[in-house]
Amino acid sequence: MGIKTNTANGGMQESFFDRSENLQLENDGDGNVVYSVAQCVGQINEAVGRLGVVRVRGEISALSQSRGAMAFFDLKDASGKEYVLQCSIFGWSFSKYKHFLEDGLEVVVHGKLKVYEKRGSLSFIADSIEPSGEGAWRKAFEELKKRLGAKGYFDESRKRQLPLYIQKIGLITSEDGQALHDFRQNLGNYGFSILLYPVWVEGDKAEASIVKALQWFNKNKPDMDALVLIRGGGGFENLKVFNSEKIADAIVSSRIPVITGIGHEKDESIADYVADKHLSTPTAVAAFLKARREDVMRGLDMLWEGLQEGMQDIIKEERLLVNTQAERLHRGFGKVFEGFANLKQRLVRARYAYEKQVYVYLASVERAQSMLTSLNPENVLQRGYSIAFNSRGETVKSIEQIEVGETAMVKVWKGKFSALVERKFK
């Protein structure tokens, strides 16, 4: 439905009037314009069409479930004035909202106005419906929470474990919000590598931009250690996008673990429930990452100490072992020395015994010597005896050993002489 068209002279003119001029309109006798019904309805539709997409706040009433392809409800003025807009919505679109819609609920309906030609009634054709007012949001929130809970979205078993060492952070937040400032301020300087994907954190573009950011990191930066989705504090209106089912789906589908810190301490959101780790604020997320890094560093320090202590213990034990061995060795040597001393003593004793024995031998030798001396034949010769030897040099003990005429050698104490045998006597 064109709202404005270019005219030949290049200026802009309202199409309503353009068309009016081009319509073949009747004039009555007084020169007043007379429309046909079709022309009139057409003109009205042209006029309301110029409004484009409108957002209307009101209370739902007379909600009727889908008749054929459509669903219908009335939107009453929320202040209680008796104004009503008849609304219709396509069935496929209605199915997204019907879980929280009920009579009396305050909502904001996005859609376009149109007069149904056949009935001549103005209808508000809704594209989307969102809860309005805290109560409505609370209801929608509880409803979605219940539904996603039933799908297992919040199960701890489904959630991804955060790596011990988080270094590369995919940051998803507004580039000029307080959240970004708080996050960077409280992270500490541990060489974190942060890649910010700027998104809208409230308003119409927020949902799509956050979903896109989550998908972008998974597709283009799968080596991120964690995705951090944060937003500073605000009213429920500011934070409501974080109760989006599409964002919940994107978080569940993310292969990279997602950490959230949305709003203030008390705020809770569907995104928080679905996240692999959720903290209360952007500052808390930064503090968590910082503490986690410090834990790893402390753990390393402890391991280092453990390593040194382990080694020291081994050395101490070894030293103890060496000392024990040395002592044993010492004791061993002691024994050797003792044995040696023993041996020495025994040797001394043995020498005495030996010497004694020698004396005994010497005495016997002396005795034998004196005995031998007494037996020496020369001693007999001294006493005047002599010894005769035959010519064969034998001691003559019998006359048979010598013949007459033979010369015998006679040995006396001093010298010897030869003697011729003249006669033998018996």
Partner: protein
Amino acid sequence: MTQIQNPKKQNLQQALERLESLVKELEAKDVDVEAGLAKFKEGVDLVKFCQGQLQEAENEFRKLKTELEEEDSME
């Protein structure tokens, strides 16, 4: 759920795990000095590596440009 792990991160985690097991091994009573020293030396190298990874350093902050984002998402 399979996760694509950063090799550097994987190494740090592995290094820490190895360190932990080395400490346990060293604490066991029946390690002789020679084997103990070998473990200790390996541990010292791992500690150095981990310290290198974990040291305090300036954070790196980059902002994604919207045009780049459009290009990348069209790949």
